[in-house]
Symmetry: C2
Subunit: 205 residues, 2 copies
């Protein structure tokens, strides 16, 4: 965020919000069914300048953790993960989603239940690209029920890699995923933690 | 590529190759069926440092075209498109793949035949994010038969946007897509144009 934008936000009385929270209040919309529509800047059209600020926040949180690989999941995690990988100076690996369960031995696989789509799919990464030498930071756009995040943790740990934590753009803190993953002992940095979207009004934790 | 790497390549007699071509020769593999496996640095694990050099090449080619939007397609185009969007300083939009054909009026849609998967899918972008004000650079990882690229061009032109050209990482120049899209009048910048992969040996144009 440039200094003029920060000053504007200060004048609006929202100086305590970070760049993503401010943007959600300005451009996000709450749709029926508890859907937060942020497709103008986060997960369909992507504001890579905003992503850079978000990546810097992830770097401040995890810079001392020896991260040497970013792990994410297709499709909407890839953009933020790549901008974050640039800041960390390390490669980015994305898990692929398959509907078939029987995959050959060249992949690590995990099952992920999708509440949005009402199905279970298999996520896979090649065994070539995760190993015990890896210190993995997981990046994703949303954390709600935590199924995708738990699947990514499983992929990394099957390979013997260390998961140093997860950076997510938006956590729906009124859903159980964040609490569950933190209770498993993982550090989760969420840039915007939404406490409530009742009556279409977004409030942060 | 840093100067030491350039010097090494010069000493090896491959100074005429760019960063991507050099990497393909070093780490790419040709599999039966004409498949070029570059999943260690391009389309599964992604070397974002390499992507930055590739994005700079796209910027040199299209910097005078007034690009104000990058358009790509999920999933493997997104990473390179985001790094490219950072260099151009503009937002990145990715088309989504659907297997359903009937989508409501809020999307631009195009049909894309996939030779790899033996099916036809619908690609979509929201009408909110493409308009006649847009000067679009299309970015993708592979150009072979050109079906995805033609679909992306169609999406942009349905919106009245101007397609200034396409930047692709790898063009399989022995397949017809590149020639077809150029014959339609579009400028295509391919960073690695593969002339042949016969007997597992990769040669560039």
């Amino acid at each position: 965020m440039n200094s003029a934008a920060r000053r504007d936000l200060f004048l609006w009385g929202v100086d305590a919000l970070n760049c993503l929270e401010s943007r959600i209040l300005r451009d996000g919309r709450v749709l029926p069914g508890g859907i937060l529509k942020v497709d103008g800047f986060l997960n369909h059209q992507m504001d890579v300048t905003l992503f850079e600020e978000m990546a810097e926040e992830f770097h401040r949180a995890f810079s001392s953790c020896g991260v040497n690989k970013i792990l994410t999941i297709e499709a909407s995690g890839i953009g933020l993960a790549c901008i974050t990988g640039r800041v960390f100076g390390c490669p980015v690996l994305f898990a692929k989603k398959h509907l078939t369960k029987n995959l050959a031995g060249q992949f690590y696989t995990a099952q992920v239940a999708s509440f949005t789509h009402g199905c279970t799919y298999t996520i896979v990464v090649s065994r070539d690209f995760l190993s015990p030498a890896d210190r993995v930071l997981i990046i994703d756009d949303f954390l709600a029920n935590g199924e995708a995040l738990k699947g990514l943790i499983s992929l990394a740990e099957q390979a013997g890699a260390v998961v140093v934590g997860a950076g997510v753009a938006v956590e729906k803190a009124f859903q159980p995923g964040g609490e569950a993953v933190r209770a498993m002992g993982y550090r989760v940095k969420a840039l915007a933690r939404i406490r409530s979207m009742e009556d279409g009004k977004i409030t942060f934790c």
